[in-house]
C-alpha cells in the first residue's frame, strides 16, 4: 500500500519532464527525533538537497519556463515515521526543503512507490535498500557522511569507472541499463544548459583501477549518452581517499552504489 501526500507549499513539477529524485527519510532526518516541537534534525542528505534546489533556481533563471528540474520526493517505509507524517512535513517546511511529495509505504512495497512516482534516482543511507532498488532497475546512490558536508554552490557529481553498466544478458539488466542511461542522459541535458564557467553542475570522472584506456572508454561512453565530463582523474591504482576529499562530490554514481574507502 502506497500513499502519497503532496506538499502544498511547493509548486509541483511536471512529472513527465522533471528528474525525480527520491530520498529515504533516514537520509534526510536524523534517526533520533528531537522533541515534538523541534521536529527532526537534518541528516546527511541535506547538502545534496540544498544544492539540487540551487540548480533548480539557476535552471529557472536561465529559462523561467523550464520543466526539466529536479523533483525531490521523500520516501519512508517505517510505520512509526508514517505516524509522524505531520511532524515530518512540518520539519521539511521549517528547513526550507523543497520536497514536493511524501510517499509512505510498507517495506515490501517501497519499490512499488519508487516505480509509481517515476523515480529516476533513489538516495539512501541503507545499503540494502540501495541494492534492492538497483536490482529492480532504479539507479541508486548510497549517501554517506563523508560526502560533501559543507554547503556548496555547485552540484558535484562523480562518476566512477563502472558508472555505465556494460551489456549483460538478461532482461532485468537491459531495463536497468536503459533506466540508468536515461537518467545519465537527463543529467547531461541539465549540464548543457549552462556554460563551461560558473556552472551549478559539475561532472567528474574518477577511474581508480583501470589505466588510461579504461578512463578513455568511459569518457567516450558518457559522451555518447550526452554527458560531457568537466574533470577527469585517472588514479591508476593510487588510493582514492585523498582524491575524494579534494573532489568533495555530493553524489557518487557507479554501477549500483559505492562505498567510500575512507
Amino acid at each position: 500500500m502506497v500513499s502519497t501526500v503532496q506538499n502544498t507549499d511547493v509548486k509541483q513539477k511536471d512529472v513527465g519532464q522533471a528528474v525525480v529524485v527520491a530520498v529515504s527519510f533516514a537520509a534526510v532526518f536524523e534517526a533520533e527525533p528531537g522533541d515534538a516541537r523541534s521536529g527532526y534534525r537534518l541528516g546527511v542528505a541535506l547538502p545534496l538537497l540544498q544544492v539540487l534546489q540551487k540548480v533548480n533556481e539557476r535552471l529557472l533563471e536561465e529559462n523561467p519556463a523550464e520543466h526539466q528540474l529536479f523533483d525531490i520526493i521523500l520516501i519512508t517505509t517505517d510505520s512509526w515515521q508514517q505516524q509522524q507524517s505531520f511532524s515530518i512535513i512540518n520539519s521539511t517546511r521549517r528547513h526550507g526543503l523543497e520536497v514536493s511529495r511524501f510517499c509512505f509505504s510498507k517495506e515490501e512495497d517501497f519499490i512499488e512507490s519508487l516505480m509509481q512516482n517515476n523515480v529516476q534516482l533513489f538516495l539512501t543511507t541503507d545499503g540494502n535498500e540501495a541494492l534492492q532498488a538497483t536490482q529492480q532497475g532504479v539507479p541508486s546512490a548510497l549517501l554517506d557522511k563523508n560526502l560533501a558536508s559543507c554547503p556548496s554552490e555547485q552540484l558535484r557529481v562523480l562518476f566512477c569507472e563502472d558508472a555505465i553498466i556494460q551489456p549483460h544478458a538478461g532482461s532485468t539488466a537491459a531495463s536497468k541499463k536503459s533506466a540508468q542511461q536515461s537518467f545519465l542522459a537527463q543529467l547531461g541535458q541539465i549540464r548543457q544548459k549552462f556554460g563551461m564557467f560558473n556552472s551549478p553542475v559539475c561532472f567528474t570522472l574518477v577511474t581508480s583501477r583501470g589505466g588510461k584506456d579504461s578512463c578513455c572508454s568511459t569518457l567516450k561512453s558518457l559522451r555518447a549518452l550526452g554527458v560531457s565530463v568537466d574533470e577527469a582523474y585517472c588514479l591508476g591504482g593510487a588510493p582514492r581517499g585523498p582524491f575524494l576529499s579534494l573532489l568533495r562530490p555530493h553524489l557518487l554514481l557507479s554501477d549500483g552504489f559505492t562505498q567510500l574507502d575512507g
Binding site: M196, K212, C234, G237
Partner: protein
Amino acid sequence: MNLNSSQTLTISGQDVVKNGSQHSWEDAKTILKPSTPSKKPPKPENSITIAVSSRVLFNMEKEQQIFEQQGMEEYIKYQVAHETEPFSPGPAFSFVKALEAVNTQLRDLYTESEELFDVVLITNNHAYVGLRLINTINHHQLFIERFCMTGGNSPIGYLKAYNTNLYLSSDPVKVHEALEEGIAAATMFTPEKMTEVSETQLRVAFDGDAVLFSDESEQIYKAHGLDKFFEHEKAHENKPLDHGPLKGFLEVLGKLQKKFYAKGQRMDCPIRTYLVTARSAASSGARALKTLRSWGLEIDEALFLAGAPKGPILEKIRPHIFFDDQMFHVEGAAEMGTVACHVPYGIAQRVPEGKGIKDKEISSIK
C-alpha cells in the same frame, strides 16, 4: 669531478641519439628483456612521482594561441575537432622518455621493486581535451597511466595526493604555489631548437644557490656585493648551507643511482647529475661541495664557472633538464638548446637583475 671552469667536456660512453628518432631506441628495446607483463604504475609512496603539465609534455602552442586569441569555447572546439591528431613532443618529452629508460633498466635489475619513476599528467585542461591528450600519450607510447584534468581547479591538492617529488609546468603561478607548499617545482621553457640528448642516460643539471641550497649566500651577495660574498663563504666554509627546493629531488636521484651502483653500474650509471654554478672553484665552491657531502649526497660533476655564462657548458653536457633560480641563466641555457627550468625561489625573484649588459655580467656572478 671537474673543477676547471669552462673546459670542454667529452661525453664518454653514452650514445647521443637524435631527439625524437625512435629507431635506435626501438632496436635497443628488442635486445633488453621484455617489460614485465603486469606493468602497473607503482604505489605513490614507493615511487618517485614526476608531475608534468600538458603544455610542457606536448607542444600545444597553436592551441594556446587559439585560447588566448579566441577564448575557451573555440579552444575546446578546436581540440575536440582534432581529437585524433596527436600533439608533437614538448620540452619535457625527452626528459620523460629518459625517465622511462631508467625505469626499464631498474626493472631489469630489480624486478619486484616499486622504486621507479612514475610520470603523472596534471593539467588544468577540461576533460573535453582529455581524449586528445590520451590519444597522444598512446601515439608516442608513453607510459603514463595516471592523470588529473582539473577543469580549471588548482592542481596543488592533487600534487600532494600523488606524493609528487617534482612538478613541471609552463605556468609560473602554479609553480610558485607548489613551491610554497613545499613541493619541488620549476617553470619549464621551450628552447627554440632543442639539442639532441641521450635516450639511455638521464642527465639532470642543477644550479647551486637557491636551487639545491638556500638563497642565504645569494642574499649576502645582493646586499653587500661580491667581495663580501667571497669573504662570507670562506669564513663559513665548514658550515653547511641550508637546503633549497630541489635538494629533495637530487636526493631521490641519488637513491636510484645507488641501486645501480649496487649492481656494479657505477661507471655507466643510467643517471648522471651535474652542479652548474657561478661559484668559483678556488674560493666559494668549497662550501657548496662540503654542504653536499654533509647531506650525504653525491653529484657526479660539479662545474664552477666563476661567473662565466652557463649556456656553452650546458650545451656540452646535454642534460635533459636544467634548474636555475635566475631567468638570466635559464634564458642563456635555452638559447643554446638546453631545456631549462626556472625555480622561482629566493632573493633573486625579489631583487631585479641589472639592466645593462655589463650589469648583467656582474649580477650573474654568485
